[in-house]
Point group: C2
Chain length 153, copies 2
DNA sequence: AGCCGCTTTGCAAGGACATTGCGCGCATCC
DNA sequence: GGATGCGCGCAATGTCCTTGCAAAGCGGCT
């Protein structure tokens, strides 16, 4: 991928916030002809700068009213241990985010649940069943203050 | 908003993963005529079930190579304290996510930075400057294992 | 300075697409 | 049983996306 110029950055800034904007309106906003804009966007997509488009669905419309932050420690940091854990955690659809971390815990997870009972099920059937786990620490989000799709550029 | 039926759910499932899909292809995937599909999607958007569409931009294409998870404790839980902290944290463009939490820390943040030097700047100019903060604990993500845009439905 | 090649732009055309009105089928309720 | 409302498919029209093509900007080189 070549370097991004000011026009590319402007395109990215718009489509981050308005992913389903028409090419015509996008072109107008950034001051370019629709054809040039379409070609630039095409390059951004094919070169992997734009990795996808996603609709954001109201969590409570789907009855997901709870967010838990889960800190997990494993029994070791061997590559095999990490690989097996990660393969297993990827299968749980309720895990939205998972990072391998520095610091006190090995992994940090963001988990969506419909309610406390649902979370208890997830904890029992999924999280506790993950391999090599020696400690699980769940905290619950009381309120979402910020949830940006991307860093403001 | 009325209840979501199986077709609505199917639509949501597709557009969560393919936010820029054409209405024609969406209709074909879920087995509906384009007109009916367009009308359903319109209802889902106007009723607030679909809250927006966003392009996902490769973080490293923008040179954001670091993700920090920051735990923050405040000096108290008075409403005024929380409100002032939240107003301030919302201004920092590097803070992608912020939750008010139960548990040991009051807030948990996901912060994007270009590199360690950039994070040092964010920490100094933004995080340390947030009002009522008494403790900041930063951990760094070594690797992103999962980052789903939405819960799998 | 002038030339040349590369890149990117704007324009135009044709083909696809989104949207809206309309009539029909189906279920519900009186 | 008839009326009513809801959601569907079909068709048409206006918009939009895309691609070919020529010209303009830009940098390097002589």
């Amino acid at each position: 991928m070549s370097q991004l110029d000011a026009i590319d950055t402007a395109i990215l800034k718009v489509i981050q916030q308005h992913g389903r904007i028409s090419n015509a309106e996008l072109a107008e906003r950034i001051g370019l002809s629709p054809s040039a804009c379409s070609r630039r966007l095409d390059i951004l997509e094919k070169s992997g700068v734009v990795t996808g488009y996603h609709a954001r669905v109201s969590a409570k419309a789907l009855d997901y009213k709870m967010i838990a932050i889960v800190h997990i420690s494993l029994s070791g940091q061997f590559a095999k241990t990490l690989t097996e854990f990660e393969a297993a955690v990827k299968l749980c659809p309720n895990v939205l985010v998972c990072y391998l971390m520095s610091g006190e815990y090995d992994y940090i997870l963001r988990v969506a649940a419909k309610d406390l009972e649902d979370y208890e099920r997830i904890h029992r059937d999924w999280l506790s069943a993950l391999p090599h786990v020696v400690k699980i620490n769940s905290s619950f989000a009381l309120r979402e203050v910020i949830d940006r799709p991307n860093v403001g550029i």
